[in-house]
């Protein structure tokens, strides 16, 4: 009888070990960023950044009035403009590594908006600043079913391994495309 229980315990231990090994993250997953998920209107904090996304818009062309050397801001695709407030929590960071994920595709934030830009904040840490994050994407990206739950990844640097990153979900599938959107320089947010 005792021998039978021993055999059962051995089998259970073997199965449990197999399940643990099978469900353990693989190499890249063990060093992946730690995404802190949120939705539009929600304030999300990562290690270096607090972010609130107020909304998303689409446009064929950007209108930049604060600089007369902005050039031609049309696109063969579509501009995705994310209105967000950011607050740097520790020291200074630039946000040129921000990405938009639609399904399997990743898009890098465009530096089309001339300086001053929210991508290179002018204010110090602790001061909330609001401005547009602009992405240039092909029209086909909006036809992707994943556009309904696209994510803006506010990477605080190019190196995000095992760092926390605010990931805000936005629905791009139901937005109408505006002929133009006006882009303004970032502003300081009052609490």
């Amino acid at each position: 009888m005792r021998r039978r229980w021993g055999a059962i315990a051995a089998v259970v231990a073997l199965v449990a070990t197999g399940a643990a090994v099978a469900s353990a993250p693989d190499g890249p997953a063990t060093i992946a960023p730690l995404y802190v998920d949120g939705d539009v209107g929600e304030t999300i904090s990562s290690r270096l950044l607090t972010v609130t996304v107020h909304g998303a818009q689409l446009a064929d062309e950007l209108v930049v009035k604060y600089r007369d050397d902005a050039g031609d801001t049309t696109t063969d695709g579509v501009w995705v403009v994310i209105d967000a407030t950011i607050t740097m929590e520790q020291g200074y960071i630039v946000l040129t590594n921000t990405e938009l994920r639609i399904g399997d595709r990743l898009f890098r934030v465009s530096e089309v908006a001339p300086s001053p830009s929210i991508l290179v904040p002018e204010e110090s840490s602790g001061i909330p600043q609001r401005g547009p994050f602009v992405f240039e994407v092909p029209l086909s990206a909006l036809d992707d079913p994943a556009a309904a739950h696209a994510q803006v990844l506010f990477n605080p640097s190019a190196e995000t391994r095992l760092d926390s990153v605010a990931a805000i979900t936005v629905d791009l599938s139901s937005l109408a495309t505006n002929p133009t959107i006006r882009i303004d320089p970032p502003t300081i947010e009052d609490h």
Partner: protein, 209 residues
Amino acid sequence: MTIGETDQTGPDAPAPAPRKRRLPGWAWTLIGLAAVVAIVAALGGFREVPIAKLPAIALGETHEGDEYRTTVDAVYLTSQLPNTGYAAEEGFEYLVVEATVENTTDRPIFTLTRQLIRALVSGVVEPYGDAAAPDVSDPRFGGPVGYLQPNLPLTVLYSWDVEIGQIKDGDEAIIGIFERHYDPSNPAFDDYSTTDAVARVITEVGAGR
């Protein structure tokens, strides 16, 4: 001499056996080399190796690469790049290769680390060397092209400073299209390897304008 031994030094002694001649070392070396050559020849090592010709495409024709879809649209000289606000320095002008490139991967690609287009024109603009590194700009707003977004074709200008008169309209221009290719066996470049040109466009300066 002890008892039982015969005297072999006398006049009736047998002549000494001729000493065997050994091959000198250099002969063995030659034989070894000949054997190696014979084995290489037997395995086909000296057969003429067909060298794959670099595919030549026409101006305006699209090259489908591993990561890029590339079309060279025009090659021309100009004194000012569109929207940059800067004219060429006195005594210089720009040689411009205008191309439409599309990143066919699902990740943004930083263009400055990819010398996608190089030009060889009249021996002036060489495909290698720091001095020949081109500027890559977006003609819409004149700024540098940072990242190529996935599946979004973009017209880009590759430009080199050249002295006025060094290159003339009608000069032959060889435009090389380069890109890295997937090579999982090469650990030196993560999961990619660098590559030589993958296609060439032979045209003339002033074409496509």
